[in-house]
Structure formats: structure tokens, C-alpha cells
Amino acid sequence: MASDFAIIGKPLPKVDGMGKCTGQTKFADDLNLPRMLFGRLLRSVHPHARIVRIDTTRAERLPGVHAVITGKDLPIKFGILPVSQDEETLAVDKVRYVGDPVAAVAAIDEETAERALEHIDVEYEPLPTIMSIQEALAQHDVRIHEYGDGPNIHKMVSLEFGDVDVGFTAADYIREDRFFFEGSNHLPMEQHAAVASYEHDGKLTVWSSTQTPHYVHRALEKVLEHPASRIRVIATPVGGGFGGKSDPFSHEIAAAKLSMITGRPVKITCTREEVFYIHRGRHPVLMWVRTGFARDGRITAMHFKSFLDGGAYGSYGVASTYYTGALQPTTYTIPRYKFEGLRVFTNKPPCGPKRGHGTPQPRYALECHLDKAAIDLGIDPVTIRRRNAVEPFSTTVNYLRITSCGLGECIDRVVEASGFDKRRGRLPAGRGLGFAVSAYLCGAGLPIYWNDMPQSEVQIKVDRGGGVTVYSMAIDIGQGSDSVLAFTVAEVLGIEPADIKLVTADTDLTPIDLGSYSSRVTFMVGNAAVEAAQKIRTTIFEAVAGKLHLPAERLVARGRRVFDRNNPETGLTWVEAVRVAEARSGLLAAVGSYRAPKLSGPYKGSGVGPSPAYSYSASVVEVNCDPATGAVVVEKVWIAHDVGRSINPVLVEGQVEGSVYMALGEALMEEQTFRRGVHKFPSILEYKSPTTLETPEMHTFIVESIDPEGPFGAKEAGQGPLLPVIPAVANAVYDALGVRLDEIPITPEKVLAALAERRKGGPGRVGPREIPQITFKDPIRVAPPPGWQKEVSTRP
């Protein structure tokens, strides 16, 4: 019950809100250091080419230029995943996409640095290019990298849980569909930026707009061959991340190297065009799904294939590949499940994690596929989901542990509020309703590099004035991690968020947090913060109990007081309590740690997918389509999200609304596409994203399932609510126009093409007609969890 809390569940303002509304928050590019130089990166103009020669002489002679570096100065490779260390700070032998960095300069100002780039002479020998999944799999003679699971195949996965053939044989109805989901950029409003300062005592400090200071720290140590103990990484407040600032990047390492060479601070701020090349955005994914159903709509087996266009480097790609297959069973009980996926290298900017990481694409495919199956089976789209919905506290066929699950309530809320049952199929011409559901992680169960240390640690120190300082490496990217820290600690200690000072995201000063990715921060940092705060509270209670001659168990901390719960008049003010405790125990400081329980299953590849909890979402979308122009206008969105417990409803709503917005951008307009190796529109003007004018009416419902392991029962809100909206749009377009858009984004051209096809007697569909004819390796065959068949067959 929210009323049990003083802070949790209350619509308090974000603790960093006023700084952001007054211009006081310092982002990376706002930093200015004495004697600072400005750096720029020279980027490849070829999608694939051998570097024959680089001559930097003319640039070095330019007045105002202090240093010029090339690939040979930083030859050690790096990458976010230990298995894909395939990136060079500056390309050594060849470039792999237009935008691949080849040289870097530091100069007295940005203009001089820019001019210096024009004075670097690079001779390229162009190589044949690979620009699509199909080309990557067909052109074995062209190789972008020399490693992987096959020619131009970065990763190939093949897993089978139970015998799918048995399930398909038992099916009354089998359906197959193909889908394509185009890639998109995160488009954070802040361009990436880093400032590096090397001092003559051998200490290097790097300030960067990064979601993962810990992984930047590791990459700098490796590439610079400089001890981690002498490198300090400070993540500055991130002006929008969405996954796009989760890798270590060339500009960070180059700034550090240039600072080491010149002995002066160096700042590199990327341009908007460069952000499109840095990318790490949504993978374009081609998908095929085959599902067997019983007559009543229950799934008997599913076979899912995905082909990811990874771009030129590995990035998070191995994890992305697994994620396109891992979470389908978290919403529906799939008794037998086979997943085959592969990621190819292409000569495009590298793809990586964008909000929902690898799961929005298969979720779109799955929810549209189910919508079609429901119609074929004569079942309504809501019923087919309810019949297959997972149960709370169950295990999926691929060994994912489900704990709290508010899926059913999410469905109820949006279906009821939108009048879906009564209105679908009965709206005027051109109008339609679509429905979909989804689930998402609350933090990846395993860290990116193997280790058995905690994933999150928090340290708290209390000063004798009553001020509380919380130290955490969590970085606020706008999602509200600073506020989560302040709210959770304030709740436990019975003080106000304003009494709390935060020291965050600094590898010298703060204990570990792995980063703001995989929706892990509220769950993991929150738990660590609660543990640390509880230890402080225990110390204070023991001291106050001694002072007041009361048992410590009777004490309560609330409203900046510590008092007897049976006799609230008896107590001390917070400041008095702190002083009594410090006199008794010395420095009031405590630490808390969070480590996810061991959750991986008994098979290789089971490390991707497990999470200590899953959030659930359901959405109904109402569209108004113009069959003459193909324009699709989303007028209303109903969305319910199971956040476990809402630590702050304003922040949760903000995450949900932002997710809906980003989903609509991807569903209708955003795409990162290429022509002859070149990005078609690396600018905000031509890369279309929704403005205020495209904002629909949004109805947000927060569902609280109170997770047993989350901090105060909380789960995630930052990514999950994006997932159901995209397929709900596609399903709504079908309800409105009777055509199937099996390809994202749903542009007016595609809607018109589908309508034209239907007029000619076709099925009225736009989407891929085939998938590459490739034989996946034999699957790893995994017996379902013990008791699984019994569990499934006895479901009501």
C-alpha cells in the first residue's frame, strides 16, 4: 500500500529537475578546462576500402595544430563484448563503413581542427561492398571481418527447447509469416562528447556523455595500455541515451590519447552527422515465424528465425542476436520452441542496443502474427493472448524465471478503457484499433564480462549536520536514476530527498554500477541503495534505542525524526539521532551491494534473457488512415505497464509516454537507410521523427504487481512500454484498411502499395516474400525444465 510510504509512490519532482530547467546542469560539451584543445575525427568516405597510405604531414604543419594521430598510434582493438573485440580507435588497415574514423587531430580551436582534417591525405583502395543481409550471405568472396560463425556471419544461434516437430504435428492449425523491421537511430538530442585531461603525474581523467562509465574505463585501460588505477572516468549527465551511448567509442579514446600526447585537455564533440555514423541503433531484422495452434488458440509449438543486419562491427551484436529469440516465451506459454538467428556484417554504421534491445523487432513480428492467427481461428485478438498468457511465478520453456506478472491486469486495463471489444471492426472507414502485449527485462541477469562480483554497489555517508551523501556509479540519462537513489534512501531513513546529496558516475569516487542499460538501474541500484540505507538506519536505531532505553525494533524513521512507534512523542530529531549514533559508532557510513541470483539455464546461450524480474505491458492504438494518401495518423494510445511498484508515478508515466512516442516514431517514420553505401539522410531535418504535432492522446495506466525481489517491489519502466505499441499500430492499420503492413516503418507509400495489391486481387500486404535460404547449424537441443510438460498440460 502506497500509504505506508512517505516518499515511495508520491509524485515528487525529479531531484535533478531544477538544474535541467535553469541551464545549470553541465553536459559534456559544456565543460571547459584551462588550455583545452579541440579534437576532431577524420572519417572514411568509403563504405569498404583498404587504406593504402595516410600522410598527416600537411596537417601537422598547420599553425594551431598540436597533434595528429592515426591507427598505428592506437593499434589495440576493443569492443563492448569480450567476444567481439573488433573495433579500432582509428582504422589501421581498412575502413568498413562511411564514417569509420581514420585519424584524429587536436588543435587550438574547432575550426583549426576541422581545417587540419582537410590536410590529411588518405589514399584508399575501394573494396566491394556488402549492404544487405542477402548480400552478406551470398558474397562469400567479400569479407568485412575475418572472424565469426561463417563468411560475414558475426554470430549464428540455433536452439531447440523440446521437440517442435511433435508440437507442429499436434497442431490443428499452423501459420507462417515473414516480417521486416527497418533500423533506426536513437537520435538523442545531445551529440556524443568527451573531454580528456592527462596530467604529468600519470593520471588521466575522461568526462564523457556515456551510459557505461565502467566499460569506458576498461576500454581506455586496454587500448591506452595505462593502468585502470590511474584512469578516472566521469559520466556527465547524458542528454539522451536510449542505448546509443552504451559502447566505448573512438572519440573518447582519441581524446585521451591526444591529451596524453599534448599534455593538455582535449575535447571532442561530435556533430549530428557523426551521431548517425556512431549509431549502435536498432538492427534491421528480417524474420520468419511458424506457429502451431490448437483449435482454441493455444500454441503447441513455435519456430522463429531472425536475420540481423549488424553493420560493420560487433558492438552488442551477439547479445542482440540472442535477444531476438529470447523473450517470446516470457508473455506466452510456448510448450516447444525453436529459435534460429544470425547476425551479418555489412558496410554500414554498427548497430547495437536501442530501447528494447533486440526485442522490439520479434515482438512486432509475433504480435502481428498472433493477430492474423486469431482471425483465421475465429478468436478475437485479446482472447488468443489471454489463453496463452504466462502465469506468475512460472518458468518458461527456455528456462526464464518469471516472478511477478501483471500481464492479465495490463490487458484488462487497456481493453476496458479503449472499448476494444465493442469498437474493433466497427469503426468508420479508415479508422481502426490494434492490440498487442509485451514483456521486458529488469536488468540483464549477467554482466557483460564474466565475473562474480556485484553488479551494483552503493555507499552512504551521513554527516553530523544530518546531510546524507549517496555514492553510486549509476548515471542519469534522463530516466531518473538520481531520483531513484534519493527517493529510496530518503524513504528508508525517513528524511526528505532534499537532505540527500548525490555523487554519481565517477570511477574514482563511486562504487560500481555497470551502467544505464538493459533497464537494470532501478532494480539493481535501488536494491543496493536500500541495503546500504537499512544498515545506516540499523546503526542509528541501535544508538537511539540506547539513548531512549527502548528496544530498537520499536523505532521508526519518518518525517526527519526517529521515534517510538508505540509512543510517537518519544523520539529524537533526525539530526539528534545522527549525532547520538556518530558518538556511539564513529563515522556513519555503510555500503550495499546487489548481485542478481543465478538464473541462467543449463545450455550455452542461456546467459542472454534471464533477468531477476520482467515488466509487462499491453497497448491499444487507434488510427485514422487516409486510403487516398496512405497517411496513418495515430490518434489515441492506451497503454498499461506493470512496473512492479511505482517508486514515483510522475517518472513512471514519463518513461511510458516517452516509450510510446519513440515507438510511434519507429512504427511510422524513422529509418536509417543507405544508397550506394552512403547514409541517405544523416540530418535531423530529413531523418523524420515525431514532433508535438504528431503527439496522440495518451492514456497511461500503471499496474503494480509488487515484485518480491525489486526495491519496494519495483521493476522497470524505461524500455518495456515501447514494445507493444509498434505491433498495435500495424494491427490497427489492418483493422482500419484491411491490409497487412509486415514491414516497419509503415510509410504512406507502403500503405498505398498494400491497398493497390489488394485491389488487384492480392492479399493486400507489404512485407518480405522470402528469407535467405540458409541452413542453420544443428540446434542445441535442450530438454524443457523439470516438470514442464506436466505444468503445461495441466494448465486450466
Binding site: 530547467c21 535553469t22 553536459f27 539522451g240 531518473g480 509516454e657 535531423i684 531535418l685 503527439t695
Partner: protein, 159 residues
């Protein structure tokens, strides 16, 4: 690079700066006057992030040359607060979570201020129209609309 002497009035204070004539107002505000509250998202006039007010009108500082705005009144986000008291828009944006990452926020606040100075109780469609040149990737705009409406109510009630 030859420099030109430019006299700018920013947030009520006169500043004399010597800058190359092609430097944008955005660059001069951030780099010469250290008013880093004004942000940049594209430097091509596409995103609205760098919005400042010139004589009360929203201008894209990345497309403005300082010589164009000599003798005019320039307001940046740092000039919105009155001494230690935040502007009602800043208060409402903070209370309602209209700033998430906060990077687009200064530009949106100034565009909203220009709107409310002109039209004290705008309809939501008018707010959407007035802010349509400012991109925000975090909020989905809903909380921004609500915050502008709350500030409008408070400001018109106070008059």
C-alpha cells in the same frame, strides 16, 4: 581571422565581444559568454534545441549571426529566473517531470515563454503548434504540454 566588435545585450547585461563575423550567436553565447545553458542539437536549424529569445521572439541561435542582433534584447535560459526565483515555467517543468534528460529543455522553455508572453492561456493545439519546432526525444511531449498549461494557469491567476 579578422574579428569584429559586437555589442550584445544578454539577460539584461551588455557584453562587448570581439569575434569573427561568421561565428554564430550559439557559439558566442556558449564559448565567449560561457552561457552554456543554451544547447545545440544539430547546428543546422533543424531541432530547436538552441532556441533563445530575441526581443521576445524565439530564434534559432545556431542560424543567427551576432551582428544581426546588436541592440536587441537577447534572453537565454539563464535569464528566465528572476534573481533566485525560478520562472513559473521552470517550476512547472520541474514539478511535472517535463524535463527528462533536460537537453532540449532550455530551448523548449524559451519557446514556451514566448508563447505565454503573447497568449497567456493557450489551448493545447496552440501549445503544440508553438513548440513544433523543438524536438524532444525523452518525454513524448505530454508532460511538456501539461507543464506549459500549469504554468499558464499560475501566471494568469497571479496577474
Amino acid at each position: 581571422m579578422p574579428k569584429t566588435l559586437v555589442l550584445l545585450t544578454v539577460n539584461g547585461e551588455p557584453h562587448e565581444v570581439a569575434v569573427p563575423v561568421h561565428k554564430t550567436l550559439l557559439e558566442v553565447l556558449r564559448e565567449e559568454l560561457n552561457l552554456t545553458g543554451t544547447k545545440h542539437g544539430c547546428e543546422l536549424g533543424e531541432c530547436g534545441t538552441c532556441t533563445v529569445l530575441v526581443d521576445g521572439e524565439p530564434w534559432l541561435s545556431c542560424l543567427t549571426l551576432p551582428v544581426e542582433v546588436q541592440g536587441r534584447v537577447i534572453t537565454t535560459v539563464e535569464g528566465m529566473a528572476c534573481g533566485g526565483t525560478a520562472h513559473p515555467l521552470q517550476v512547472a517543468f520541474t514539478e511535472l517531470g517535463a524535463a527528462q534528460c533536460g537537453y532540449c529543455t532550455p530551448g523548449i522553455l524559451l519557446a514556451a515563454k514566448a508563447l505565454l508572453d503573447e497568449s497567456p492561456t493557450p489551448a493545447r493545439e496552440t501549445i503544440a503548434q508553438a513548440l513544433s519546432g523543438n524536438l524532444c526525444r525523452c518525454t513524448g511531449y505530454v508532460k511538456i504540454f501539461e507543464a506549459v498549461e500549469l504554468a499558464a494557469r499560475r501566471m494568469s491567476g497571479a496577474k
